[in-house]
């Protein structure tokens, strides 16, 4: 079966003042459908850059990315936005829910930017997603009225509402207590049963150990790729 994502020779360089920083220095990786992967590494290792490029928020300087059989390394901004809205979900460390929107509206947000977006259908889909994460009792609350664990569950609902192929979770447990860490990681891990590829980006080994495959990065290169 072809990989969901196949990246070859991926490089990303930034110019900072007089210096050129090589955030990614030639990365080759494959991600399979329904895989639970952790990308582990200290800050500056290139894991966030990799996530941003794979999440269609950034473009590489060099290299190829084949996503679902399509070459996507150099897309224009509107096409990247389409992929973010239709193929990718994000879960952030600081939840990044919009404070003025209700839980339901926050979850429906990705659908708002789709073509033929319909408010009624969006709300229905958002309710299903919130049920999936066990938050359907808080539809009309504001994010500020929720606990950290609850917020992250809402954020996960937002990530899955558009039925993405892949979810990137960037330190999703960084702001949570131990009890909620387990719950969130279990929730993320359970998504692979629905055929979603889950990529955890973390510098915490104990979090990375919960996945089925750990990719260790250092200085813009893959140091170790270990499947358990």
């Amino acid at each position: 079966m072809p990989a969901l994502i196949a990246i070859r020779g991926l490089r990303k360089a930034y110019v900072m003042g007089d210096e050129t920083v090589h955030a990614l220095a030639g990365v080759d990786l494959d991600f399979q459908k329904g895989e639970f992967v952790a990308i582990l590494g200290p800050s500056g290792s290139g894991k966030s850059t990799l996530m941003h490029i794979l999440g269609f928020m950034d473009t590489p300087t060099e290299g190829s990315i084949v996503f679902d059989g399509q070459e996507v390394a150099k897309l224009d901004p509107d096409l990247r936005a389409w992929y973010r809205s239709n193929r990718v979900g994000f879960v952030f460390q600081s939840f990044n829910l919009l404070p003025r929107l209700t839980v339901l509206e926050n979850v429906a947000l990705p659908l708002l930017y789709r073509e033929n977006s319909d408010p009624v259908a969006n709300a229905a889909a958002a309710k299903v997603a919130l049920e999936r994460v066990g938050m359907s009792h808080r539809l009309d609350h504001r994010p500020s009225q929720l606990s950290g664990g609850e917020r992250q569950r809402v954020a996960i609902a937002r990530a899955i509402v558009g039925s993405p192929s892949i979810i990137f979770a960037d330190e999703p447990t960084g702001n949570l207590d131990v009890k909620n860490v387990d719950r969130i990681l279990d929730l993320l891990g359970s998504l692979i049963k629905e055929g979603i590829t889950v990529v955890l980006v973390t510098h915490d080994l104990s979090v990375a150990e919960r996945s089925h495959r750990v990719i260790s990065m250092r200085a813009g290169l893959v140091q170790e790729d270990r499947t358990r």
Partner: protein, 428 residues
């Protein structure tokens, strides 16, 4: 996605932001409020003035009227006063023959205020001797069904007939009485009423007289006259063949100056060089008024323009501040799939919402200003000009505010649209 589908959530979002930042939004709106209020109030009041004046000039016979009046001889001709025969029907004939630009000539012989009596009721009215040409020159008519005006035959036969102004009828006959055919007495002489003139009212722009707010208002003087054949007036009241003046109506207002020149030459020739007449037009009055109107429009328009400009800057400022506060939000929206154009639209709609709400408040304020102006004008002027707001002006004012909001919103919206999502998400 249809534009409307993209616009609706953007507008809802804009209203939400407005509600969340009430004080800040209100402050940023103040320029728009002031701008729209002054713009709408200014246009309304100036339009009111224009309407008022147009009616006034029209009541004076309009721009196409030339008035010839009897005048004292100038000092250097005083010794020839014996030769002056004044303005007479002979002038009417001469002008008719030699000044083809003139379409109607209305000779007028003022009799003066006379008591009109019928069956013990009486009223006084200004009686003038006229011919059939009075109607086109004065831009008057007989209301259909209310008889006829003085005819050439009436003039020829010196008939004792009279046409009444609409304000005279109820005073003399009571309400709802058709006076045509009734006989009234003036100085003991019996006159048959043959018609009633149309009632002149201020239209659109109401014009009122401070001391006669009811019954006809400032137009009362125009509605209260009485008209008899000019020959009857001369023979039976005045006792000579002199006229008080002539009203001339020319067909083509563009050729007013030619008509004035020709009339003057004809009159001078007919009067053997004696300047015992004066010729005047409404042109100068109209010209003066146009200058005043332009000055008003320029100065008040300037105030409105500056306010709207400042209002635009205010909106741009608050939008930039708002975007700075919501960089993370922009990042999140982009991360979940918003395109640059989606964010552009969102922030442009927010700016438009602020300006529309400001514009609506401005319209409410303008109603207050117009009411205040009306109050002041009513106190200050004997014939106060009462201006009324109309929907066209109000919607134009609102449209102005929308345009200002959109223009002011473009730069902030572009900034939001062009933010890098990764940078935006990192923003603290």
């Amino acid at each position: 996605m249809k534009l409307f589908d993209r616009l609706r959530p953007a507008v809802v979002n804009g209203l939400r932001e407005l509600q969340a930042n009430k004080v800040r939004s209100l402050l940023s709106m103040s320029g728009i409020i002031l701008g729209v209020a002054s713009l709408v109030a200014m246009v309304t009041v100036v339009q009111g003035m224009v309407g008022n004046f147009r009616q006034f000039v029209d009541a004076m016979g309009g721009i196409e009227k030339i008035t010839v009046t009897r005048e004292q001889l100038p000092k250097e001709q005083e010794h020839l006063s014996e030769l002056s025969e004044g303005v007479t029907m002979r002038d009417v004939d001469r002008i008719r023959k030699t000044v083809p630009l003139v379409e109607n000539i209305s000779p007028e012989a003022r009799v003066g205020y006379e008591r009109l009596i019928i069956d013990g009721r009486e009223t006084s009215s200004y009686v003038t001797g006229v011919t059939a040409d009075y109607l086109p020159v004065a831009k008057r008519w007989i209301d259909p069904g209310f008889g006829r005006f003085v005819s050439d035959l009436d003039v020829l036969n010196m008939n004792d007939v009279i046409v009444l102004g609409s304000a005279v009828v109820p005073e003399l006959f009571g309400a709802n009485v058709d006076p045509v055919g009734k006989v009234i007495k003036i100085r003991g002489r019996r006159f048959t009423v043959i018609g009633v003139l149309n009632n002149i009212e201020g239209s659109g722009m109401q014009i009122r007289s401070a001391n006669s707010r009811s019954s006809g208002g400032a137009w009362r003087w125009r509605n209260s006259g009485a008209f008899i054949p000019v020959s009857t007036a001369q023979a039976k009241f005045i006792g000579n063949d002199r006229l008080s003046g002539l009203g001339l109506r020319i067909g083509d207002a563009e050729r007013l100056h030619d008509a004035v020149d020709q009339t003057e030459r004809t009159m001078l020739a007919g009067h053997k060089g004696l300047r015992d007449f004066a010729i005047s037009t409404n042109e100068q009055t109209l010209e003066d008024f146009r200058k005043t109107e332009a000055a008003f429009k320029l100065s008040l328009g300037g105030v409105a323009g500056i306010s709207l400009f400042v209002g635009g800057i205010g909106i741009m400022n608050v939008m930039l501040a708002s975007i700075n506060e919501r960089i993370r939000e922009i990042g999140v929206r982009k991360a979940v799939g918003a395109r640059g154009s989606d964010l552009f639209l969102q922030f442009l709609a927010e700016a438009a919402v602020i300006s529309v709400v400001g514009g609506i408040i401005g319209l409410v304020v303008s109603m207050g200003i117009v009411a205040l102006m009306n109050y002041i004008l009513m106190q200050a002027l004997p014939t106060g000009a009462v201006a009324t707001l109309d929907w066209v002006i109000m919607s134009q004012g609102l449209a102005f505010s929308v345009v200002v909001g959109l223009v002011a919103g473009v730069y902030p919206a572009l900034r939001a649209a062009n933010l890098d999502p990764i940078e935006a998400l990192r923003h603290e």
